[in-house]
Amino acid sequence: MAVEELTPTSYINHHLTYNTIQVGGNEGAFWTLHIDTLITSIILGIIGLGTIWLIVRKATPGVPSKRQAFVELTVEFIDDQVKNTFHGNRHTLVAPMALTIFVWVLLMNTMDIVPIDIAAAINEHVFGLYYWKIVPTTDVNTTFALALSVWLLMLYFNLKVKGIGGWSYELFCTPFGKNPLLWPLNLLFNFVEYVSKPLSHSLRLFGNIYAGEIIFLLIGMWAATGVVGTIFGTLLGAGWAIFHLLIVTLQAFIFMMLTVVYISMAHESH
C-alpha cells in the first residue's frame, strides 16, 4: 500500500490509523466502520469463548482434566466475585456476562503486549493490510459499545425490577431525601450519575490501554534512533510489557466488576 517516508509522525500515524470501510454506501462520519477493530475483536472473542466452550462441552462432574480445572478456576473466581456483589439469580445473565466480559476484554487488552511493529509487518506482508490496529480496546468504539450495552441493561433492569414508579421514586427521592424541594437536586445528581457511569466505565478501559499502546509506540520510536536507543528501547519495552500485563488484567477485571456492580445496583433499591 502507501509507502511513506518514516518519520516519528508517520510512524505514530500508521499505528493509530484504523482500517475503515463505509457501511451501506452511506457517506458521513458515523457510517464508518473500523473493520480492524471489529474483526480482531470477533476473532479474539471466538478464540477465547470458543476455547472455553470446547473444554466445557466435555466437562465432567468427576475428576476434571487440567484444562477443565483451569476453566473452572477462572469461572469460579468470577462466580465468587459476582456472588458477593449480585444477590439475584446470577446464573441467568449476570455471571455469564461477567465471564464473557472478562475473557473478551482480557484478550483484547492482551493484544497490547503483542509487539506492534512485528504485528504490523505481518499484517502488511502476509495479509496485505497496511493499516490494521490490533488492539480493539484502544478503539473508543469498543469500550463505549460494551459500556453502553451494560448501561442499557442497567436501565432495563431498573425498569424491570423496580417498575417505573420505583425507579422514578429513586430518581427523585434519593440520595438526599424525599422533600419536594430536594427533587431537582436529586434528579440532577442521578442524571450526572447515570451519564458518568458509562463514560467512566468505558474511558477508564480505553485510557489505560490506549496510554499503554502510546508508550509502546514511544519506546519503539526511541528504539529506532540507534544502538543505544535499541538497547534501552528493548529493556524499557520488556519492562513496560511486564508491567502492562498487570494493567491489562486489572483493567479487564475492573471492567467486569463495574459491570456487575452497575447491574446489581439496578436490582437493589436504595
Partner: protein
C-alpha cells in the same frame, strides 16, 4: 477518537458473545461444578453417617460386652452355688453312708462279741466243770448234775 458505526457492530458482537456464553458455556460447566459439589456433599454426608454408625455400633458392642460379662458373672455365681450344693449333698450322703457303715460295723462287733462271749462262757463252763471234776476226783455226771451246771452257767453270764 471518533464514535461511529463500529460502536453498534461491537455492541452486536458483544451481545452475541453474551448470548453464546449464557447458552453454551455457562450451563454445562455450572452443571458439572454443581453435580461435583453434590457428589462431594453426598460423600461427606455418607462419611458422617458412617462415623455415626460406627459410634452406634461401638456403643452397642460395649453394651453387649457388658451384658455378656454380667451373664458370665451370673453363670459363675450359679455354678459356684451349684458346686457347693453338690459338695454339701455329697458330704451329707457320705456322712449317712459312714453312719450306716459304722452301725453295721458296730452290729458286727456286737455280734462277734456276743459269739466270743458265748464261746468263752462255754469254755469257762467246761473249764469249771473240769475243775470241779478234778476237785471232786470223780466223774461228774452231766446228767445228774445238770441243774448244778446250769446254775454255774447262769452265774457266769
Amino acid at each position: 477518537m471518533n464514535i461511529n458505526f463500529t460502536l453498534i457492530s461491537q455492541a452486536l458482537a458483544f451481545s452475541i458473545f453474551i448470548w453464546f456464553t449464557v447458552r453454551y458455556v455457562w450451563p454445562p460447566l455450572l452443571g458439572a461444578i454443581e453435580s461435583r459439589q453434590k457428589t462431594i456433599a453426598d460423600g461427606l454426608a455418607a462419611g458422617e453417617r458412617g462415623k455415626h454408625d460406627l459410634e452406634l455400633a461401638s456403643q452397642r458392642s460395649t453394651e453387649v460386652l457388658k451384658e455378656a460379662k454380667q451373664r458370665a458373672a451370673e453363670i459363675i455365681v450359679q455354678a459356684e452355688k451349684r458346686a457347693s450344693e453338690i459338695v454339701d449333698n455329697a458330704k451329707v450322703a457320705a456322712k449317712e453312708e459312714g453312719d450306716r457303715i459304722l452301725i453295721g460295723a458296730k452290729a458286727d462287733i456286737e455280734h462277734e462279741m456276743f459269739s466270743a462271749k458265748e464261746t468263752l462262757r462255754q469254755h469257762t463252763a467246761d473249764l469249771a466243770v473240769a475243775g470241779a471234776a478234778k476237785i471232786l476226783r470223780r466223774e461228774v455226771d452231766a446228767k445228774t448234775h445238770a441243774d448244778l451246771l446250769a446254775d454255774i452257767e447262769e452265774d457266769l453270764k
